[in-house]
């Protein structure tokens, strides 16, 4: 019953003070939209960045040979280390190693299709390279397979942009491409991906052939580098020390000699990104929350004015025996009511913005914002706290009025 009275009173009050109510609600709408939009855009940007970071591979290491910096077992320092494909074979047995592939590189090979001509870089690798480096074949395509390696087949896998430039408007799979005047069968094209860091150029402009074919064709004994991946991101340090151990034994250098191998551990990059984006999102959330708090202060002020205006009414109620609790809950209820309406409108507004956003085609730069569960929970809890706090102080003031004083005004 009491709540019905509250509601009729609220509506009466709102009707009497249309502009004031509207402005109050607007403050909350704006604050809610700020919290939700900032958080969901933050999340969209983070996911987008993560995708781009992982375009190079998920928690992988790219390893180049270096020079020894310590003498070891009678061998001098400053010795050059060089890798062969067997080194990659050897690393397979390092504990917690998930995948390894050697990488041969040849820059400026001439690729020709009909009259089109291009200088491309050729990579010789193993089939597992596709998984390590996220070089994913698109539908109807395949990467190099074990048969290609075994039979040294002249097959080639093309990066997305390169395939489009050499074969505009047609699917190149099944076609031939001349690499330094040797015909290669195209077995696959890479699925488009974002990649924000690279070595030897972007994957989208590279070509991949079986390591064995590469070795035969270019007569290379040594590989350029090795890529590998641990079976779990947190095991990366163990795997890296295992790699130093195994390579040190093979190439006779001290496993503590860090300069003998040059490692690029992309998991460090990913950890950095995660930390950075955590801070970034907290920052956005705090900005949004402050906007909402300003809205809350607005509502609290308005309620104070309402208490002032209704002093007589409150006095009458209390004189007739209304409890403090009743008066207090009336005002808290009214504040909460306005907060809920504002919050709801704010939610609806953000939802519309976020659903219309994809039509702007900006995903490449800022990703796709999404209202996730965590964003909603954050927004609703901030709203709830603000509604309560904003309502509490005016309500306490109202309920502490002395009925005699209140009536005398």
């Amino acid at each position: 019953m009491a709540s019905m009275t509250f509601i009729t009173q609220i509506f009466r009050d709102m009707r009497n003070q249309k502009l004031r109510t509207l402005l109050t609600i607007f403050g909350i709408v704006w604050g809610t939209a700020a919290v939700i939009l900032l958080l969901s855009f933050g999340e969209g940007i983070q996911l987008n960045q993560q995708k781009a970071v992982r375009g190079l591979g998920e928690y992988i290491v790219i390893m180049w040979p270096g020079r020894t910096s310590k003498s070891f077992e009678g061998l001098p320092r400053n010795r050059r280390i060089r890798f062969k494909a067997q080194d990659a074979e050897l690393l397979k047995s390092v504990p917690h190693m998930k995948a390894v592939s050697p990488e041969y590189s040849f820059w400026n090979a001439r690729a020709r299709v009909g009259r089109r001509d291009k200088l491309v870089s050729i990579t010789g690798c193993w089939p597992i390279f596709s998984e390590i480096r996220n070089v994913i074949p698109k539908e109807g395509s395949r990467f190099i397979n074990q048969e290609d390696i075994k039979k040294r087949r002249r097959v080639i896998f093309l990066g997305t942009d390169l395939a489009e430039e050499l074969f505009p408007d047609i699917d190149p799979v099944g076609d031939y491409i001349q690499i330094n005047n040797v015909p290669f069968l195209i077995v696959g094209v890479m699925k488009r991906k974002e990649q924000d860091s690279s070595y030897n150029g972007r994957d989208t402009r590279r070509t991949f052939i079986p390591s064995t074919t590469f070795k035969t064709m270019f007569g290379r004994e040594y590989i350029n580098n090795i890529v590998f991946q641990a079976d779990a991101p947190e095991r990366m340090p163990t795997v890296i020390s295992g790699v130093y151990e195994a390579m040190g034994r093979k190439h006779k250098f001290d496993p503590a000699d860090k300069q003998a191998l040059s490692l690029w551990d992309t998991s460090e990059m990913e950890t950095f990104f995660n930390t950075f984006f955590m801070a970034f999102r907290i920052f956005l959330g705090v900005i949004g929350a402050f906007t909402l708090i300003v809205g809350g202060i607005g509502i609290s002020n308005i309620m104070n004015v309402v208490v002032e205006e209704r002093t007589k009414e409150i006095g009458t109620k209390m004189a007739l025996g209304a409890k403090k609790r009743f008066v207090r809950s009336q005002f808290i209820f009214e504040t909460m009511f306005l907060t809920v309406i504002g919050g709801f409108v704010g939610f609806a507004f953000s939802y519309t913005v976020i659903n219309l956003f994809p039509y702007l085609h900006l995903e490449e730069y800022v990703g796709t914002p999404t209202i996730s569960v965590s964003v909603s929970v954050a927004a609703v809890s901030v709203l709830g706290v603000i509604g309560l706090v904003a309502g509490y102080f005016p309500a306490r003031r109202a309920s502490n009025l002395n009925p005699v004083e209140a009536l005398r005004l």
Binding site: R54, I136, N145, V187
Partner: protein, 61 residues
């Protein structure tokens, strides 16, 4: 004959994925014959007109 992209080669053996009774993809050993790099002859392990599982390209997340 099968598109070679559907065949996995591992340790000198070849596999394809077929749906088992629970409609889950399960690897089946096959032997392959000649191949032109795109299509491969199936010598045994698979009967004509069997449906082979084709997985969609992996998504980077």
């Amino acid at each position: 004959m099968l598109p070679e992209r559907l065949v996995t080669f591992r340790n000198d053996s070849a596999f394809v994925e077929l749906l088992n009774e629970l409609s889950e993809p399960a690897e089946t050993l096959i032997t392959t014959g000649l191949s032109d790099g795109l299509n491969v002859e199936i010598a045994s392990g698979l009967i004509e007109s069997t449906q082979v599982v084709q997985r969609p390209p992996k998504e980077i997340e």
